[in-house]
């Protein structure tokens, strides 16, 4: 059984079609990495799952359930969380409030506070910042917060859009290690990464997106192919 499955998805922004028959899947427990050049449509793939773009045709299923008919705000109930590109935290809310909003659907405040405590175990750097406004965090801290917020609803599948974007190498490694840990605790991961070299070390499978189409997919070994090397790994 596949967990998340996209079948021949065409999607875009109004009249601008970006994705052309994209098919991909994530199986339970996997880390799947999506790579490709700027503007290939990687973000659009994640957004199409979350209905943040127009999906014209194709099938998007999560745990065999068609999610295309659902609203964005219903998806998290199924067990999917999104960490959007560009560290999009709620800047005018405090760190604590950001985390609380991650568990918005959990009415029981005790459960929310428990989740905050366990999220802080995974992201201890947020602990001294709980009362600060999120806009005042550093880029790396904002990325941690965005990930922490996504974990607050205890998702079965985490979608991450370039979590290491713009981070210093050391911070990047930290973020990737956290993702690995999250995965080891049972959450499946679909991750977009520019920084393919680092990301593919974690990957169970890789999809290469080019110009709105899946150009290649397979295990880590596809990265040894010459044509991929210099385009996606900056080997030139």
């Amino acid at each position: 059984m596949s967990f998340l499955e996209l079948k021949n998805v065409c999607a875009g922004y109004g009249a601008l079609k970006v994705l052309n028959n994209v098919s991909l899947r994530v199986d339970p427990g996997e880390i799947v990495v999506l790579i490709g050049p700027n503007g290939a449509g990687k973000t659009t793939v994640l957004k199409s799952v979350f209905k943040l773009v127009d999906v014209y045709s194709g099938k998007i299923c999560f745990q065999e359930k068609d999610v295309r008919a659902l609203h964005t705000h219903d998806l998290i109930q199924l067990g999917m969380s999104l960490v959007p590109q560009g560290r999009q935290v709620f800047g005018s809310l405090t760190v604590r409030e950001n985390l609380e909003m991650g568990a918005y659907l959990t009415q029981d405040n005790d459960v929310v506070q428990e989740r905050i405590a366990s999220t802080l175990l995974q992201f201890p750097e947020l602990k001294p910042k709980m009362k600060d406004y999120a806009f005042a965090l550093s880029g790396g801290q904002q990325q941690m917060l965005a990930m922490g917020r996504a974990l607050m609803q205890d998702p079965k599948l985490l979608l991450l859009d370039e979590p290491s974007l713009g981070l210093a190498p050391k911070m990047m490694q930290t973020v990737l290690n956290r993702i690995k840990k999250i995965n080891e605790q049972g959450t499946s991961v679909l991750m977009v990464e520019q920084n393919a070299r680092q990301a593919v070390k974690l990957a169970d499978r890789i999809y290469v997106l080019e110009d709105g189409k899946v150009a290649l997919h397979g295990g880590k070994d596809i990265l040894s192919r010459k044509e991929i090397q210099h385009i996606y790994l900056g080997g030139r």
């Binding site: 979350f50 943040l52 609203h71 964005t72 705000h73 219903d74 998806l75 998290i76 109930q77 969380s81 999104l82 959007p84 590109q85 560009g86 560290r87 999009q88 709620f90 800047g91 005018s92 809310l93 409030e97 609380e100 909003m101 991650g102 918005y104 659907l105 806009f135 917020r149 607050m152 609803q153």
Partner: protein, 291 residues
């Protein structure tokens, strides 16, 4: 302190409190909905006229409650009948702004048709004793205006900072798409915004109606004052708007210490332009950059 200065300060506080109630609703709606709901002035006027209407038939308490409920329904109906339909068609914020001006004019005309052009007085406030503080005169109604505003601002602060609804409203105002991904239903938040904003506007209208005469275009002048206050304080910051509107009320009233009282509105516009040119984000408003 001279009693004239005390009187002007007090008048400024009263005017500022009213403007601030108008500004709070206006800026709450603006921050969540991302457009300027100028028809909020129509909602304010509706509050005054509904209270006028119901107080002919009922005793004060039911009249006030009925007027509040009808005004909120009126505000929600504006959103449902016009803005929501435009949102469904992906209308730009400029289109929504123009629609709101249209709704403002429509409301003024509906009042004109329903109640006539002559000024009206709400009959609730017959008995209005006068008190003296530091040589300044204040009526019971004015005390009620200040106390009600202070209470409402306290409640609004608590709601926005401490409740799940308030935090969700701020999250939507901050980043609507991301708010949806954490499970916040935007339609519900829009509804809550119009309920809260219209309640604040309606209460402002009722308080003004108790203090001053009612006339059909009263909403327009009030929303301009509310808007100016909001710009001074920061349009998308509810607290900033309240502060800005209080400043506006004070400046207007202290200004007529030097200038003839006919210059009141001119003072407001000069302040508006100064802030639009020099500090468009207002005193407390922040511009959040998005990545």
């Amino acid at each position: 302190m001279s009693s004239i200065l005390a009187q002007l300060l007090l008048n400024g506080l009263i005017a500022g409190a009213i403007y601030a109630l108008v500004a709070a609703g206006f800026s709450l709606i603006c921050s969540v909905m991302k457009f300027m709901h100028f028809a909020h002035g129509g909602v304010v006027a509706a509050g005054a006229y509904f209270l006028f209407m119901f107080s002919q038939w009922f005793s004060p308490v039911p009249a006030i409650l009925l007027a509040l409920v009808t005004t909120v329904l009126f505000g929600v109906f504006m959103d449902w009948s016009v803005y929501k339909q435009l949102r469904k068609r992906h209308a730009s914020n400029a289109v929504l702004l123009i629609a709101s001006i249209g709704l403002m004019i429509l409301t003024t005309n509906l009042i004109l048709i329903g109640f006539g052009a002559d000024v009206k007085t709400i009959p609730l406030a017959q008995h209005n004793p006068v008190y003296t503080i530091l040589g300044a005169r204040i009526t019971l109604i004015q005390v009620v205006i200040i106390a009600t505003s202070a209470l409402l601002f306290g409640l609004l602060y608590y709601l926005m900072k401490c409740t799940r609804l308030g935090k969700a409203l701020r999250a939507v105002a901050d980043n609507n798409a991301i708010a949806q991904t954490v499970g916040i239903n935007p339609s519900r938040m829009y509804l809550a915004t119009f309920i809260l904003g219209s309640a604040l506007g309606g209460i402002a209208g009722m308080l003004i109606g108790l203090e001053q005469n009612l006339y059909p275009s009263m909403g327009l002048s009030l929303v301009i004052k509310g808007f100016t206050g909001a710009v001074i304080g920061g349009v998308t910051s509810v607290h900033g708007s309240i502060l800005g509107a209080l400043v506006l009320g004070m400046v207007e009233n202290l200004g007529i210490w030097y200038l003839p009282s006919g210059y009141k509105d001119a003072i407001a516009f000069v302040l508006l332009f100064v802030f639009l040119l020099l500090k468009p984000e207002g005193i407390l408003g922040k511009r959040f950059e998005r990545g």
